[in-house]
Amino acid sequence: MALGYIGKIAKVNLTEGKVDAEHPKEHFYRRYLGGTGIGAYYLLKEMAAGVDPLSEGNVLVFAASVITGTPGPAIPRYSVVAKSPLTGTIGKSEAGGFWGPALKRGGYDALVITGKAKEPSYLYIENGRLEIRLAKHLWGKSTGESQKMLRDELGKEIRVAQIGPGGENMVRYANICNELAHFNGRNGLGAVMGSKNLKAIVVKGSNKVECHDETRIKEITKFVARGMKDHPQAYGLYLSGTPAGLAGKNAGGNLPTENWTKNVFEDAEKIGGEALEEFFIKRKGCYSCPIRCKRVVKVDQGEFQVDPIYGGPEYETLASLGSNLGIGDIRTLAKANELCNKYTLDTISLGMTLSFAMECFDKGLLTTEDTDGLELKFGRGDLLLELIEKIAFKKDVGELLSEGSQRLAEKIGPEAMDLLLAVKGQEMPMHDPRVKNGVGLQFALSSCGADHWTAQQDPLFQEAGSLGLEGIKSLGILEPIGPLDLKGPKVRLIYYTHLMTLMYDVLGICVFGAVSRSILPLSMVLDLVKAATGWDTSLWELLKSAERTSNMLRMFNVREGFGRKDDTLPKRLFEPMATGPLAGKNAISEQDFNEAVSLYYQMAGWNEEGIPLPGKVAELDIDWVGEYM
């Protein structure tokens, strides 16, 4: 009997309206564990190279893990994997919430979706049964409206992963939303759903996920619940959530401001964690997680209202739509966040596409002739709200901006490329690598474009005795490493924590639940897998599974023509900070960076072009990928 996992993966062909299932053996689950591991497996096997990501040839995978749906702490995540319409690389994105555990309780470990439905459709899953149903009545509706209609029709206990108009209209950075406030945010995977005429996946699950040792799993949840308030980082997340990060970044001279042309924002106090408190109404969390880091806001007075069903803005949103656009009004940002959640737009790529367009406008590379008369200026909250509507529905200039910043830069010409802040076509998150060089390596080496959770971040490891460093001593990282270092110890830190973070992704563990960002130690991550599955496994085996996935992602990208030339950083990061306390300092050395990339390749077992060597492929037991290259 399968323990931890269900042993069933649905195969849904939307073109033919056909539903089937595979029942992989135990070794499949032990090799790939879940999430992106399972996703990359199916993408490599079932998708041809060079497929247009918005065509019916794309393969879309939703995958939970061998521990999802158990009562363990901070394991709410599932991955969505498909070829990204934003980057052309493999696309992957994790979301918390409740949908992943519900998928397991509904009788499936993963869904592999191919083809394109003739009419708007949704999938309905209930306790091991899967149906393709018509969604004509939902198409065009906001996420809030669709969720309400589905609940009225199917009962309040359903969980809904869905797209709003942004995904339906195939905005290249549309995301996928569950429970209106949790997102597979990056890589434009919502547009892939839209291209398949797939509005939603509704799950109703009441089956228990059987475990080998449920008592041990519950003990670990109690450990997190009891210890959380004594753990500074976990407690910080509970107390103030991610918005608290904005003030420190501004004080530290590294808050992305006006397309990163500035590094401090004069109105930072008006858009940070303290400003948001005025509208805070409650905390919210995810399935079986005691940390509850989400902040729900409500605005019911003034120029406009913000509906609390859509949660509240995280740090990334406050910075990308706030300081990055020069907008210092928290109400506007709360409203913009609500609109993005209604329409399913990724706030990072949205903010960075707009800021790029605004800098181009400022420099005369775009004019009102290109923008249907709109003055694309920094600091205009009204313009932000107007542009979100235009982009989600691809109206007027919204069509141009819906393509993301890289396509816009290519359209404008070479002079715009210097202003572009994207890697492999994905816009950079709100973390400036010039104050934490390892984040620059992450951005450059990520298989899905600039991403701030490809590994852990440098500041956590700069002090002896810090919780961040203590948390990874069992990986063999024993000494503190400075944030501006790019030599061997830093590259090793990024490589090892990449494997650790990807292990969390394939297991569905939230990065805000486990070391180095939070409380759950690696020894207990291992215990969770053992207790769920009954396997006599080890941290070695789990990290090897993450390495296997990392190499599968890499090989997918090699198949699509990506290589060393794409593992780079935007020009602006090789220039010093422009304003604030670090003005004139902190340019990343291009030579140090290039040497670090080479060193990383060597550590990973890749050649100088970043292609996995045959020995590495054999060691990871993925020779089979060769047949599909």
């Binding site: 500074p232 420190g248 530290g252 973390h431 956590l460 002896a464």
Partner: protein
Amino acid sequence: MAKVKVKLHFVLRRYGQAELEVLELPDKTTVQQLMDQYGFAPGEVGVVTVNGKLPGRDHELEDNSSVEFYPIFGGG
């Protein structure tokens, strides 16, 4: 003695009596000594500003300095 204003941000507030405190410190007290006095856990402080600047932890605090402590933020 140096009169120093100290502001503790977010989760660090639990180390002080109030969000904003005025302390009398011996001359030449360094940022690190002030941190030791508060007893922050290792690595818990991410950014320290003195009068809006980013001096090192061996910086000696002068009279009327304004010090602000921000928690570590290792990815949001």
